[in-house]
Symmetry: C2
Subunit: 137 residues, 2 copies
Amino acid sequence: MTETHGKYDSGCPVAYALDILGDRWSLLIIRDMAVRGAQTYGALLEGWEGISTNILAQRLKQLEQDGIVSKTRDPENRRSFRYALTAKGRDLAPVIVELVLWSGKYNAADNAMTGLLEKIRVDRAAVEACIRAGKTP
Amino acid sequence: MTETHGKYDSGCPVAYALDILGDRWSLLIIRDMAVRGAQTYGALLEGWEGISTNILAQRLKQLEQDGIVSKTRDPENRRSFRYALTAKGRDLAPVIVELVLWSGKYNAADNAMTGLLEKIRVDRAAVEACIRAGKTP
DNA sequence: CTGGATCCCAATAGATACTG
DNA sequence: CAGTATCTATTGGGATCCAG
């Protein structure tokens, strides 16, 4: 019954994760939602790395299918949509935290944009709790 | 002096990590070394997912440049090489562990090949210590 | 206007066959 | 065993077009 997801159906949990996250953009989109609080297509387009419109649309659709992202109409602005992380998406917080710690160790120099590393160093649990609560740390 | 690595030089630590790991194969190669103990080109080729030869060669070269993997001549077999994780590569252990835990939560069904999830659940610290020590858990 | 589809084209990733 | 060569498929950028 296990839905065959992607390319390699090896039964390895690392491969399962990489089927969803193993590309240049998916995790950056998740980061934009978790860390920067981006909630709209427009806000995601203006991320730090400059994703293009077709890729963003495609990845959002895929992430929605994978249960990472939810899409709803904006209650206050009927012509807009709101994207949010699901519980499954927010549960990636520890993965993001470990990636940031690793980068911080080996790429100490540039960490300019986020300040995330410092926040994690001060109180890692608090950062994860924020993300899990759907708030930006 | 920060060497510009890859595509997006945004200064975000997540992006730094993804520049090295954000593709379908790099982290699987690292997993094969860390978890399965693969040390040769041939052993890596026979991983669970079936990487093709050119991709493996290219990724190994890149991972070596990025300081994740080291390549040395096999002392016992002069015509063979041995690939190993560097400290930087082994320090990805927590990232792999978090990915496995996440997959285990949302893809409980298939975890057949590794048994890694169970080991992590029994003693996470021990698994990470193994990998950091260059031993397979 | 926001959100997204589409087309064109360049660049990368990848499978297979072959080589020292 | 450890790759290279070749060829095809997929990805991605950028502009533009389209719908609500």
